[in-house]
Amino acid sequence: MNDRDPAAQDCGGPVKQVSVMPSIFPKWTNLLPLKLAVAVACLGGAATAGVWYYWTPKYSRVGYQPKQPVAFSHNIHADQLGIDCRYCHSAVERSWFSNIPASSTCMNCHSLLLKEDPKLALVRDSYTTGKSIPWVQLHRTPDFAYFNHSVHVNRGISCVHCHGQINHMEEVFHAKPLSMGFCLDCHRAPEEKIRPVDLVTQLDWAGAVDGKKLVNDWNVKPGQSCSTCHR
């Protein structure tokens, strides 16, 4: 209504509503663009946050802890008994691949210790029949990326940086993302992680060492070009 409306003043009668046009958009639509914007922002934000948080090896791999066929404990063997990693993973210094020990390696001790234990039945079977124990593999680089254990282990990079505190795990789990960004973080700054070579399998070692000096002395230059790992 408009009080300058001449018709209204003239007749002096009750105010007459003049409907110029039926409104196409009802009143509630006034806030619609705002609400839509809020909703889209919320959903978009949530989707982005979800992808950022979940669509990464930090979520998808870290914590992967499959059930192993034999209840083998690194905590007992590597920590309490103090067996070196290389007693079992003996190829780790010599090849790209770190082997899972053959059942004969277990039988070195278990032919004399816990001879009758039912937990070790599968190991004894495997040793006598020659059929492998179906250990579930946790860590695996995709086939398009090249990884090598010996180059790291012989240059003072400890297992703990890529596998976590294995010696305290009852059952092994995937502790680090092992994504490309993870590899590159260290390749850009190896001096933060490097340590004397004979301490590589001492996962609890927390001493200080002049990393810059080691990197310099040994001429450690981890490649960052794509062809280092995608060859």
Binding site: G50, G63, L81, G82, N108, C109, F144
Partner: protein, 215 residues
Amino acid sequence: MRYFFLFFFLSIAATLGITGFRGGYSTRTPLQVFNDMKNQAKLRPQTDSTFPGFADGVSSRPFPAGTVAQQVGYQDNTTWKNDPFNTGRDFSKGDIPNNFVEVNPVPITSELLKRGQDRYLIYCQPCHGAQADGNGITKKLGMSTVANLHDPRIIKMNDGEIFNTITYGKNTMMGYGGNVPVPDRWAIVAYLRAIQLSRLGSKDDVPAPVLEKLK
């Protein structure tokens, strides 16, 4: 809008409830949405193989019996066998069970001893103990037969026989031939001799000035 927010926060709660947080433990294999040549048609070590030639269905192949790995530089098994370095045996003494070489065929250097110590601590210490006196951790847990390597019988043994024990084992000790490469076995033998010697010393071996200090 109220309904939207209700729905929105419920679905966030549901997502968190189902998927959890980073670092949670799970027995599920990590999901792979796009395969992207992550799994190529090649055999990786220690995996299953359906190749018909591999009767046992395993991708890592054992050495066929009586063969020598190519990289060791021998063309045939006989030459390989006749080098005491490889077998710890001296076949010029005849093809008899105890034709072991008397002395380590590898020249003893401080690097060799250091390597030997390193390897000894990895492969032998769990049973024989750091002092080689047979008091490793497994002895304490019930492996009663572990030998004391300071035993006069073992001190008098030929180097080749110890090499042979490492390779194939002896009685209740199993072999380490699969885990310890040949040069490392000789390094361990050399180091073992050094520890044995350390207990055979007498007062006369200590230089006089040092002896003075110890008094």
